[in-house]
């Protein structure tokens, strides 16, 4: 590579990066990934299309409360005669929208904070101390603090998920940074006089991305479970808006009269967990495979 000539450096990197991406994509196109991705796609489409599939909306009532599951009402009806299955599908909208907004945000900010050590080691250390402090707060305790400051609702749940996920990405990125810093290509870039910020974003970042995607999948399901936990105790989404947590909050009170009031949201949570875990597994296997080939 000639010194300083970006015109000669760029095509080389593009070829290497394209090759790497192709190998990576090839590695996670496994049955496991297709099963998880397919399941997630079905759940997401159902959530998005809920108003089209169920034009009656979440509040449409039938005359009978606590009907047992039947073809017309797969999960039965609740205490007001509303269809529990419909409410569960609508609840997916909240779960999915929360993590789709919060987790990528946490990933971007957390990764940059984790890689900050490449620019200034003092800044990098400071961020790691911050992560230690966040990790000291158990998830629900963190949620309680945010709810007090912001009031309960979608926004405070999103902020809780962002703060809760930050250290996971930050620490992972930091570990990657430390292992990449000693590599020859970083040394080469430094010798060529490439700036610290550029080394961090253009050289180290592309080499740390794959494990971060595994973490993103895991953080998304963790965020969905956190919404459920906070809403069950009444500190998350507020009834009557259906979220998987608020449904459980009410459902557990009627568990004898209508077991599916609890069972329905649990089934949805488990389906989401299976989908995200299959995807994380496949992504992780792809990382290990590309690493061992490289």
């Amino acid at each position: 590579m000639s010194a300083g000539g970006t015109s000669t450096a760029r095509p080389v990197r593009r070829v290497v990066y394209g090759e790497r991406l192709r190998r990576y994509l090839g590695a996670f196109a496994t049955p496991r990934f297709h099963a998880g991705g397919g399941l997630l796609l079905v759940l997401t489409m159902a959530a998005l299309a809920a108003p089209l599939i169920f034009p009656g909306g979440v509040d449409q009532q039938s005359r009978d409360s606590f009907l047992p599951p039947s073809p017309g009402h797969p999960f039965g009806t609740d205490e007001l005669g509303r269809d529990i299955f419909v409410r569960c599908v609508y609840a997916l909208r909240i779960s999915i929208s929360l993590v789709v907004v919060a987790v990528p945000l946490a990933m971007v900010v957390g990764t940059l904070m984790g890689l900050a050590g490449a620019v200034s080691s003092r800044l990098g250390d400071a961020f790691q101390r911050l992560f230690d402090i966040i990790l000291g707060f158990p998830s629900i305790v963190l949620g309680i603090c945010i709810v007090i400051i912001m009031g309960p609702g979608w926004a405070s749940l999103a902020v809780t998920i962002v703060i809760f996920s930050l250290p996971q990405f930050g620490r992972l990125a930091r570990a990657q940074l430390l292992s990449e810093m000693g590599r020859e290509y970083v040394l080469a870039a430094r010798v060529l006089g490439v700036g610290k910020g550029r080394i961090m974003l253009r050289h180290i970042l592309p080499n740390t991305l794959e494990p971060l995607f595994v973490q993103m999948s895991l953080s998304m399901i963790a965020g969905i479970f956190l919404e459920a936990a906070l809403s069950i105790v009444g500190l998350g989404i507020q009834p009557p808006t259906p979220s998987l947590g608020t449904l459980l909050n009410v459902g557990i009170r009627y568990v004898y009269a209508q077991p599916m009031y609890t069972g329905g949201p649990v089934i949805m949570l488990l389906l989401l967990a299976v989908a995200f875990n299959l995807i994380a597994d496949a992504l992780n296997a792809a990382v290990l495979k590309t690493r061992s080939e490289a």
């Binding site: 158990p138 629900i140 305790v141 009444g234 568990v255 077991p259 609890t262 649990v266 967990a273």
Partner: protein
């Protein structure tokens, strides 16, 4: 050991300092004026001001913080503005319920975590490996509240084996108390046990690659003895620290468990206090939860340092 403590102390002290500041600020950040709450809604502006001065709320924040912290450190946790009772008394009345749940869950977590971890760490192939991996995967992927709800549906509703809501003090009627404790304690313990088991398993696989294991095998040491006194012994450190880290999440899980299983513990008290804006109670409980998590973590690290001179002397 003192050297080890001295190295760890700054970060622990920073953690406790930040937590105490966050806890102190919670009522201020939550909005609402404590003086207004105490004075009542029909008090005049002068009366509210008088209450504010008498409560010391007119002083600078730093003075109030030091005052509050020194109170907490000497056992004066303050007074609930809503129920007008000392917070220490409120906490003591609920402590028993949470202690019963937390202790039984911790015992189950350690028992199942270590047993499953050791089993998985010494089963390397075949059907046993596949079954254990599937079980651990399922435990780790299902958080306490979902595990709890599944247990309720399975053992409380489908088979009416165990009570699913309420509690009896273990001091009053131990047998009944245990029957009420079984489901929440298992729900709380199993996900953490899965995580601990995974870490032990990974560590044991790692130790099995070490050269001293090859040497022992070459010398003709029986496999069972290698597993116990060579591999397991060198994996215990991971197991202990893993347990220490999980205690914080166990406490967090207890909050949700108490809501689901209708137990009147400190977790439910914290949630109710948030809803009724009784922030003076919440701040003490938040501080308590984080302090317990941090101290247990530090304790587990000290235990590890006592067992492993490499950690104690910072050689690794």
């Amino acid at each position: 050991m003192l050297g080890f403590l001295a190295r760890r102390l700054p970060s622990v002290a920073l953690m406790l300092l930040v937590t105490s500041i966050v806890a102190f600020l919670l009522p201020r950040l939550g909005g609402g004026d404590p003086a207004l709450v105490v004075a009542g809604s029909d008090a005049t502006a002068e009366q509210v001001e008088a209450v504010r001065v008498s409560m010391g709320l007119d002083r600078p924040l730093v003075v109030q913080y030091v005052d509050w912290l020194s109170g907490v450190l000497t056992g004066d946790l303050g007074t609930s503005l809503i129920s007008n009772r000392p917070i220490a008394q409120l906490i003591l009345s609920r402590l028993g319920s949470t202690l019963e749940l937390a202790i039984s869950a911790t015992i189950l977590m350690v028992m199942f975590g270590f047993a499953l971890g050791i089993l998985a760490g010494s089963t390397r192939r075949g059907v046993g490996r596949a079954v254990l991996d599937a079980v651990l995967g399922a435990l780790v992927a299902t958080p306490p509240h979902v595990t709890g709800l599944i247990l309720i549906l399975a053992l409380g509703i489908a088979w009416r084996l165990l009570p699913i809501s309420g509690e009896v003090s273990i001091l009053v009627d131990p047998a009944t108390a245990l029957s009420y404790l079984v489901l929440p304690a298992f729900a709380l313990a199993l996900p953490q046990a899965g995580t601990i088991a995974r870490l032990i398993q990974a560590r044991m696989y790692q130790v099995q690659q070490e050269e001293f294991v090859d040497l022992a095998r070459a010398k003709g040491v029986p496999p069972r003895r290698i597993a116990i006194s060579h591999v397991l012994r060198n994996s215990m450190g991971t197991a202990i620290v893993a347990t220490g880290i999980r205690v914080g999440e166990l406490l967090a899980g207890a909050v949700v468990m108490e809501a689901i299983f209708g137990r009147n513990g400190l977790g439910l008290m914290a949630v109710d206090a948030v809803s009724s804006r009784d922030y003076e109670v919440v701040q003490v409980l938040v501080l308590g939860a984080v302090v317990i998590a941090v101290v247990v973590h530090l304790f587990s690290e000290m235990l590890l340092a006592a067992l492993d001179p490499r950690i104690r002397l910072d050689l690794s």
